[in-house]
Amino acid sequence: MNPTRTDRPLALLLTAIALTVYVLTLTPSLSYLSPDGSELATIPAVLGLAHSPGYPLYTWMGFLFSKIPIGDVAHRINLMSAVLGALGVGGLYLIITQLLPGTLPIPWRRAIAALCALLFAFSLTFWSQALIAEVYAPNIALVALTLLALLRWERTRRAWDFFLFALLFALSLGTHLSDLGFAPAFTLFTLLTLIEQKAIRPDGAARRELSALTKSLLVIGAVGALGFALGVAQFAWLPLRAGTLNDRFMLRNAPTDLKGLYRYTLGAFPQFKFAFPIQALPDRLVIYLYLLRQQFGFPGIALGIPGLFSLLFRRPRHFHLLAGMYLVHVWFFIQYRAFDLEVFFIPAHFLWAIFIAFGLYELLSGLHTLGRLLAARSGFSLPRAVTALAVPLLLPTLSLIPLSANWSHNDLSQDVAVNDFYANVWELLPPDAALVTPGGVFGYDAFYWQIIYGTRSDVLLPTLPGPDPSPDALAGRKVYATIRAVRGNRGPGALPPDLLRQDLWAVPVLVGEQPEASSGRRGTLVLYRMTPEPPDLLVRDPRPQIPLNVDFGSMRLIGADLSQRSVESGAAVEITFYWQVERIAPLRVEVRLGERVLEQHEVGLGLLQRYAKEIGLSPGDVVREQYSLVIPSTMKAGAQVLSIQAVGLRGERGASADVAQIEITNETGTMERWLQIAGK
C-alpha cells in the first residue's frame, strides 16, 4: 500500500508523542545507568573515534546535535537518542501501514499500526535507550529508514530507489554493525521481488524473461553495490581518527591498516560472539523469550505468533524478509555474551511489533467479519460511527498500559548522580592534583569535563592521553582516584600494575549518590585519596557535635558531626560518624536524606578489615568515618532529615537513627551549576 497523505502526518504525530515522553524522561546529562555512555556523549562533540566498531555515522550525527544550544553537550547527545528513537517509531508506523492488507477499513489499519508503533515506543528496553547517549535508538531510526526505502523500491522498481536503500543500509552500519546480519534477508527479498515480477508473465516469453531478469539483476546489483560502497565509505573515518584513541584494547586493534580495520570492526570482541556451547542454546533462547515478554507481555507474544502466520499467507515475500531479519538477529545475539544483553535485541523487538500488527489484524478481521454476520442475521448493527471511529480511537490507547507500567523504571530525569559527583570532585581536588580514573571507555565520566569544557586543566588525568601512564607522572602530586587498585584487575580499562602501589590506602573522601534502581549498570561513585599512611580511623576521645548513642548491634553510633546545616542541592556536606565497636562483625548502613537513599557502605568504608589486621581493633574502640556526601541536585528545597539505618546486602532493614535536620537550598539551577563548575 502506498503511504497516503494522511499516513505521513500521522507518523509525525506518533513521532511527536514518543518524543514528548522521551524528553520528559530524558537523562539531564551524563548517565549513571550507561557505563560507556559518557564516551558516546563526548566523542561526537570532538569528532573523535568511539570504541569498536567506531560508529562513524553516530559520531557525525552527534556532532551536529552537539551544536544545539540547549543544556550541556551530554544533554544534546541524549536528545539525539530521543529524536532519532522517536523518528524510528514514526517509521515503524509507516512500515506497518504499508504492509497490512487492505481488507479492513483504513482507519482500523491505521489504528493497528499506531498501537504497535507506540507499544514499541514505550517498551521497557527501547524507551530506556532513547533517553541516554547510546547507539540503539539512533540505530532503530536507520533500520526503519532502510526498510522504508526497500519497500519504496519494491513499489517503484527504480534503480535510484534501490541505490538509496543500499546507501541507507550501509549507513546504518555506522550506528550498529550488527545490521549487517540483515543482508541475507535483504538479498533474498530483492531476488524474490525481481523473480516474482518476471514469473507472472506468460510462459511463452520464458527465454526473453530470463534475459530480462538477468539484466535486472545486473543493474540492481551494480546500483546496490555502488550505494552500499558509498555508505560503507564512512568507515574511512576510522583510520583518519585512529590517532585519538586512548583505550588499551582499542589501541591494540587500532584501525591503522586493513588488518586493524577488520579487528576494529567485524573482528571486534570475538570473545563475546558465539560464546556458548550448543547445549546452552535452549537456555539462551528462553532468556530471549523472557526478554520479549518483558517488552510486550504475554499478549504480545500471543499475537505475534499468529501474526507470523498471517504475514506468511498474506505477504509471503515480506514474511521472508522480516522473518529472515528477525531470525538472524535473534540467532546471533542469543549466543552473544554481554552484561546488558537485552539492548541487543531491540531490532528484533522492532520486528516483533510488526508481527503483533499482523496478529491484531487477523483478530480484528475476525471480529469485523463476525460483526457483519451477526448484523446480517439479527438485523441489528452498531451505528457506523461506533465501528468507524470507536475502534480506531480506542485501540491506540492500549499503549497507555506499557506507558504507565514502564514510566517509573524509565524516568531518568532525576539521573544526576554522575554530574553531581564530578562537579564536587572538581571543587574538592586541590591544585595540581592527579586524578586516577579507569582508562579508555570507562574513564570518560571524568574525561568529558576536561575534553569538552577544559575543566580544572591543572588536574592531571593520567589515563586520558593513553592507557599506560608512567608512575613518574604522579610524582609530586596529591593522588586521588575513582578506582581502587586491585590485584589481578585486567581488561582494557585496568590500570598499569605499577601506576599505584598495591599497599596504598584508598580512603574515601567523597561519596556520590547511588540511585537505587541502578543495580548492575555502573559502579559506585567514590573519590578516594590514595595515601601510603593509614587513615586516622580510631579516635581516643570522641566529642561529636551531635550525640546519638544508638545501638546498631555490633556497633553503637555514639554521635556525628556535620560541616554545615544548610547546603545547596548539588553540593556536598562533610559527615563524620563515630562508632563504638561492641563486637567484631561487619555492619552495613544506608544514609538517607528524607525518603531518598543517598548511599550505602560498610562501617569503616572498606578499610576496617585491613586496619584491624595491620593496626588492630578491639571492642570498645571508637571508629571515625569522615567523608563528604553529595546532596543530589534534584532534592527539593526545604528541611530534610539526615538519617542512617542498618541494612543487609539483600535490603533487610535494621536499627536506624535520625542524625540531624539539613536545610536544602536551590539558589542555582542544576544545569547552570554544572556549567559554572565546568568553567563555561
Binding site: 532468556i287 544483553l341 579507569p438 561519596v511 567514590v526 546498631f552 561487619p586 555492619l587 543487609g648
Partner: protein, 157 residues
C-alpha cells in the same frame, strides 16, 4: 500457473521456517521447565522484600546467621553492583539470574570470595544455585562486562 507455483514455494518454505521456530522454541521451553519448573528461577532472582518504612530508633539489626568468624569491613563503599543466583559458572565467568534478567560476571585472580561474615572463601565454595552479591567494576566491551572484585556468598533464606 507460474505465479501459483511460485506462491506455493514461498508458502511452503515459510511454513517450514515457522514450524521450525515453534519446534525450537517449544523444545527450549521444555528443557527449561524440566530444569526449573514453571518458575523464573532460572532467569532472574528477586533480592528480597522491598523496604517498607523504617523501624523505630535503636534496636539491633538481625544477627548474622551462624558464628561470626570473620573480621568486619572489607567491602568497597556502595551497593553491590549486582545480586543474583548463579545459573552457570566456569573458572572465569559466572552467569547470574537477577531481577533485571541474566547478567555475566568475570572472575580474575584478584577476585575475593567471602561469606556474609566476611570469612574468606574459595571459588570452589560457590555452586550453581547460590545467591551472591558482587562488587566490581565494568570493563570495556560492546555492552561491557562486570569484573568482580569481591563476591559475597549470601546465606540461603
Amino acid at each position: 500457473m507460474a505465479a501459483n507455483r511460485w506462491k506455493v514455494i514461498l508458502l511452503a518454505s515459510g511454513g517450514v521456517i515457522l514450524l521450525g521456530m515453534l519446534l525450537v522454541a517449544s523444545f527450549s521451553l521444555g528443557v527449561y521447565v524440566g530444569e526449573h519448573g514453571w518458575t523464573r528461577e532460572g532467569l532472574n532472582y528477586q533480592a528480597g522484600p522491598p523496604p517498607s518504612g523504617r523501624p523505630p530508633q535503636g534496636g539491633g539489626p538481625p544477627p548474622p546467621p551462624g558464628g561470626s568468624a570473620g573480621g568486619p569491613g572489607g567491602l568497597p563503599p556502595g551497593r553491590p553492583d549486582v545480586i543474583g543466583r548463579i545459573r552457570q559458572m566456569s573458572d572465569t565467568i559466572l552467569e547470574l539470574g537477577t531481577p533485571e534478567g541474566p547478567r555475566t560476571v568475570l572472575l580474575t585472580e584478584g577476585t575475593r570470595f567471602v561469606d556474609e561474615q566476611r570469612t574468606p572463601l574459595q571459588r570452589e565454595d560457590l555452586h550453581a544455585g547460590d545467591v551472591i552479591a558482587v562488587f566490581g567494576r565494568f570493563v570495556a566491551g560492546d555492552g561491557g562486562e562486570l569484573q568482580a572484585e569481591v563476591i559475597v556468598k549470601l546465606t540461603p533464606r
